[in-house]
Homo-oligomer: 261 residues x 2
DNA sequence: CGGTGCGGCTTACGGTGTAAGCCATACTTC
DNA sequence: GAAGTATGGCTTACACCGTAAGCCGCACCG
């Protein structure tokens, strides 16, 4: 028989720790860097040892996604019920999601992209627990089934689109990043690797590249034929994410409210 | 000196053909299946030969993205100017984007996820040419810079979120699928593969880990503890994508119209 | 004390992206 | 024509990946 589970194997690994280490690595160096060997190395262990706790790398990535979404549980601003009304509830929830999305820009694509178990489990709210929470809360607030569904889908798709855009814009064509995930059942599939783009980072906030950059052989910019882009480049590069998120969310909630009658 | 470029090397490869073949493979078997060797094989050629036309697999995937977005050019419904007004223009454009997204569900995540050259080039409108088209068209319609930018971002983020959700829901945890992309600079990185999972989540919200780790052998989802999800499951699974896309788009355009004054 | 199984380790394999170099062919230029 | 040269294939080789299979010490069980 196995030992009592409450006993902690001194310095032992465990599934959660593995996932947490993987997430650290992803945050630091991109999904592609989260190699079984790298994760193991960081834990002072051999790669194959991880397989005692995880069945496959893909499953591990799923665990990582769960871990990220679970940050909602500890988010002090997020409420589990609509004690202040559904609008407050959804606002807090949305902000919580944004918080974890921005906290893990390299990992967020995993959350948005990884195929789900059911077609109606959609990102970025990927845990059944939270989906249940949201649906039940709205229903308790007097939403009809129809209204619940509409809200659920609009809410998800707004967050998905906005946050993917924002985190993508913030990430840029950086250094690391990358992914390796498949989805095949019976046959294995490979991953890819990424060369360096040795781009340059730009401020992203203030004076952005006046140089729009279409990759020019010289590495120089090709803006002559895109006058409007060129003219608006500075404004396009401006960071107004906070404000725009708030506005977009407000607008979404207005639409939700509008269909309540 | 090289031959005149207008001469076609009989049965020769070329960058476009390589990208096109990669896209075929992705459509058929998922991103992970688009191995350099597999692509080459389909072209009756050795893997290394591809490198005469493409610098790296990552760059090839960028080409694939370009190829997909370029389908807008041939879309008969899409207009390049707002001869029927901006609302018609944006509607057609949005429908065109949706069309290519649904035409390549396995490849669409690439479009949404691949880091761009500049922070303001955001998916799913990833070509400078189309961004210029949209910005210029709106400006020509009398939009102020502010309004152009607002519209640009809202439009993109709506499409991004909605289409990623829809294509994700349609793809499910299917068969193939997968990816391989990185972003590392000096060192290469791998990919991974994906098995099929039939997990389920635990409450995570209320009570602590009752450690309900019941993996349903039947592949069925455990919904008992998620009553609302269970009750709404059928409706959640319903396919009302067309209708919802239309409604969402309409709502977006209304918001755009509203800020025009 | 003898068993038992957990959780590490070692080894090995097939697959990946790609660096480096080879060589036939077809074009350009006298 | 002949000579020169770049093009676009092929071959070989490497480092690194995910992971199958099996080994073994050690903590615990009766």
């Amino acid at each position: 028989m196995p030992a009592r589970e409450d006993r902690n194997r001194a310095k032992g690994l465990n599934r959660d720790l593995v996932a947490r280490t993987a997430l650290d690595l992803i945050d630091a160096e991109g999904v592609g860097a989260a190699t079984m060997r790298a994760i193991a190395g960081r834990l002072g262990v051999e790669a194959m040892s991880l397989y005692k706790h995880v069945r496959t790398r893909d499953e591990l990535l799923d665990d990582v996604v769960e871990l990220i979404v679970a940050e909602l549980d500890d988010d002090p601003e997020v409420r589990r019920d609509a004690s202040e009304g559904w609008r407050d509830y959804l606002t807090r929830l949305a902000r919580g999601v944004r918080r974890y999305a921005l906290a893990h820009p390299h990992a967020f694509p995993l959350v948005t992209t990884r195929p789900a178990e059911a077609p109606w489990i959609n990102p970025p709210l990927r845990s059944l627990a939270w989906i249940e929470s949201m649906l039940a809360t709205l229903a308790a607030e007097g939403f009809s089934d129809e209204q619940v569904l509409f809200t659920y889908r609009s809410f998800n798709s707004f967050l998905l689109g906005y946050l993917l855009m924002e985190s993508g814009a913030r990430t840029l064509r950086d250094p690391q990043d990358g992914d390796g995930s498949m989805g095949s059942s019976d046959e294995p599939v490979p991953g890819g690797l990424t060369p360096t783009r040795t781009d340059e980072e730009q401020d992203a906030v203030a004076e952005a590249t006046t140089t729009a950059e279409q990759i020019d052989p010289q590495g120089d910019i090709e803006v002559a034929e895109f006058p409007t882009v060129h003219r608006l480049a500075d404004r396009l590069a401006e960071d107004r994410f906070d404000e725009e998120f708030q506005r977009g969310l407000e607008r979404l909630l207005d639409a939700v409210a509008a269909q309540l009658d």
